[in-house]
């Protein structure tokens, strides 16, 4: 091709690149886009290895103790806790296992603690259903996996948050979670929701969801829905794990607890008294 046409194409290409790149540069230098990145991304203690007694993080770190002894003698309580969560968060009910969405649910000991499977179990472990939910780990592998930071650790309270607006539905977090705590909206969930809670959105198809430790209720000074459903029984104790004077720390000091798959190194925040 002759020189002038080639020169024209080169300039046109460069101009097109500049035209495409300019809005990106403008966006990168604008403040609002970046402000949330800095705060949302900080995952504390991500580089630490080994669990030997080191404090995981400073600041508030919310956690939960599930006292199975209480659930064992009050079988309806766990169902009520699950129902409360499902109601508050517009969780759809799918009849088939394929599509099910569960934030908190029940499963036998052998499934909740497959890494601690023993041959001769106690009566409770043999027969009673255990509460299963997202562990809101201190070193979550789901957050490590997410390519868009749609799931992230909130540094203020240690909750592993989920931003449904940003999730691209790649489901890498579902593969990464060692606890099977995450669900995906394989289709539009709305037809499968019985009653709407007008104070909380539903989700749309194509995004991952999981327990969010009721961040929206905590902001109003309420307890998580599941904890509130067990109010007064002591079945679920919720509080700041980093506050030595909190109720939950008192329980943890007194009782022996186990956690799910501690060897995974994710440092879960949910403890179980069996």
């Amino acid at each position: 091709m002759d020189k002038t046409r080639r020169k024209f194409l080169k300039i046109a290409g460069a101009a097109a690149l500049a035209g495409i790149g300019a809005p990106a540069i403008v966006k990168l230098t604008s403040h609002t886009a970046f402000a949330s990145e800095g705060a949302g991304h900080a995952a504390p203690a991500s580089g630490e290895s080994g669990a030997h007694g080191e404090p995981a993080s400073t600041g508030v770190r919310l956690g939960m103790v599930v006292d199975m002894r209480v659930f064992a003698v009050q079988p309806m309580l766990l169902d009520q806790a699950i129902a409360a969560c499902n109601k508050v968060h517009n969780i759809p009910h799918f009849p088939d296992r394929k599509n099910e969405i569960k934030w908190i649910w029940k499963a036998p000991y052998a499934n909740v603690f497959p890494e601690q499977e023993v041959l001769h179990k106690s009566e409770m472990a043999k027969t009673k259903p255990f509460a299963v939910l997202c562990n809101h780990c201190d070193n979550p592998s789901c957050v490590k996996a997410c390519p868009t930071k749609a799931t992230f650790v909130q540094p203020e309270n240690g909750i592993v948050g989920m931003d449904f607006h940003r999730c691209i539905g790649c489901r890498f977090c579902m593969a990464a979670c060692p606890y099977g705590a995450r669900s995906f909206n394989w289709q539009d969930p709305r037809p499968f929701i019985t009653n709407y809670n007008p104070e909380f959105p539903t989700r749309m198809r194509g995004v991952v969801e999981k327990c969010n430790f009721c961040g929206e209720r905590l902001a109003l000074g309420l307890e998580p829905a599941c904890v509130e459903a067990c109010k007064g029984t002591g079945a679920m104790v919720f509080g700041d794990l980093n506050d030595p004077a909190s109720e939950i720390r008192g329980v943890l000091d007194k009782e022996f607890t186990i956690q799910r798959n501690p060897a995974a190194g994710t440092k879960p925040s949910v403890y179980y008294i069996v």
Binding site: K98, N111, P147, T148, G180, F184, Q187, D188, V208
Partner: protein, 391 residues
């Protein structure tokens, strides 16, 4: 050079028409999936990655396989590969486009796909996967095109292109290593949590890619009047043989680790894949026939290649059979066994089996057809240039 795709024999057009039909069906299936959601696939809460991601994983390997042509020719001056390195580069392009299509088909919110670029997340391996995949695609497009153009004009390629050729060599290794890192860094899945995943991926990639190139060369020898040369094909079969042997060795090591240690976490997935997993009175074994067929194919293919080497026999039909058997066995090993095995049993030791739906298969076949379509067009250009300079 693109004008070369516009002229061809009737076989060429019929082949494109067949592929076009599959592409159209795939597109229609995708529209259905886009409107309804991924619920139209067989994926579930437990098996959250299915055919799409498994095909992506396999095809990244096929793309990396082009390295086995580039390395001997550009670094070790193995002249016999001179006419076919372009085939490796073009295969990488079409395989990578298939990979990207499979990822897009798999996303729950494909329109938000750019979030990975808007919110770069260096601690996520998917981010790096996107980077290296695009990087390798651009490298192959650049190198393939510039060198082919230079060949057509009967001049030496410009010196600066060799920088990119040499960069593409570690890139080829990196794309499949990063894809392996998607899996081998997840603490919750014992089947994947092994250091040998990346080496195994590379070994099977270096067998699968060249296998497909050998098959393409045989097809083109018959239909497109393009002969890669007996020496090149023979060398490729040697490479395929050694890579497949290494992959088999690694796989047998996995078996050893699982079955000798008898640790449930390391055996359950292998048991599901090869023998069927018994859970709550039900035996889950829908992948068992695939895995044993793949094993049989792999050993048969290796046997044929070994026989050809030892008996110093060279027969194109044997070469084609061996390449096809090995390609299929590696596809089943990585595409089916590896990805699906990681989800069975799930982290709660429950089993949900995965069976793809017809819609899902339609999309999968449509994307494979698109890849072969692009491959055909690119190879038509390459072969066309060959014919031009030979004339």
């Amino acid at each position: 050079m693109i004008e070369k795709v516009l002229k061809g024999k009737s076989t060429y057009w019929m082949w494109l028409a067949v592929l076009g039909t599959f592409i159209a069906i795939g597109a229609a299936c995708y529209v259905r999936q886009y409107m309804f959601g991924l619920g139209l696939t067989g994926m579930s809460r437990d098996v959250s990655w299915g055919l799409y991601i498994s095909q992506f994983t396999f095809l990244v390997g096929v793309a990396a396989g082009g390295l086995m042509l580039v390395l001997p020719y550009y670094v070790h001056d193995y002249k016999a590969f001179g006419r076919i390195t372009i085939l490796g580069e073009f295969l990488a392009i079409s395989a990578l486009i298939m990979c990207l299509m499979f990822i897009m088909a798999d996303l729950g919110q494909p329109l938000r796909g750019l979030n990975v670029i808007f919110f770069p997340t260096p601690h996520s391996m998917l981010f790096w996967d996107m980077c290296v995949l695009w990087g390798y695609l651009i490298l192959n497009c650049l190198c393939g095109w510039v060198i082919l153009t230079a060949e057509r004009k009967q001049v030496h390629p410009p010196k600066w292109i060799y920088i990119f050729v040499y960069i593409s060599i570690p890139f080829a290794v990196s794309i499949h290593t990063v894809t392996a890192m998607l899996y081998c860094g997840l603490p919750g899945r014992h089947f994947w949590l092994s250091a040998i995943i990346a080496p195994r991926f590379l070994a099977s990639a270096f067998a699968a890619g060249p296998s497909l190139i050998v098959l393409a060369c045989l097809v083109m020898r018959k239909f497109a009047n393009f002969d890669a040369g007996k020496e090149a094909i023979q060398k490729l079969t040697t490479i395929i043989m050694y890579a497949a042997i290494i992959n088999t060795f690694f796989f047998l090591l996995e078996f050893f680790v699982g079955y000798y240690s008898e640790m449930p976490g390391h055996t359950h997935s292998l048991e599901y894949l090869f023998f069927g997993l018994e859970h709550d009175g039900h035996v889950y074994n829908n992948l068992v026939p695939f895995m044993w067929t793949a094993t049989a194919f792999s050993f048969t293919g290796l046997g044929i290649l070994a026989y050809m080497k030892i008996a110093k026999v060279f027969d194109y039909r044997l070469v084609g059979t061996a390449a096809a058997l090995i390609f299929f066995s590696l596809w089943a090993d990585k595409g089916l066994g590896f990805v699906f095995g990681g989800f069975v049993p799930n982290p709660l030791n429950e089993v949900t089996e995965y069976i793809p739906t017809a819609n899902e298969l339609g999309i999968t076949l449509g994307i494979w057809a698109t890849g072969f379509f692009i491959l055909t067009l690119l190879y038509k250009i390459a072969v066309g240039v060959e014919h031009e300079i030979e004339a």
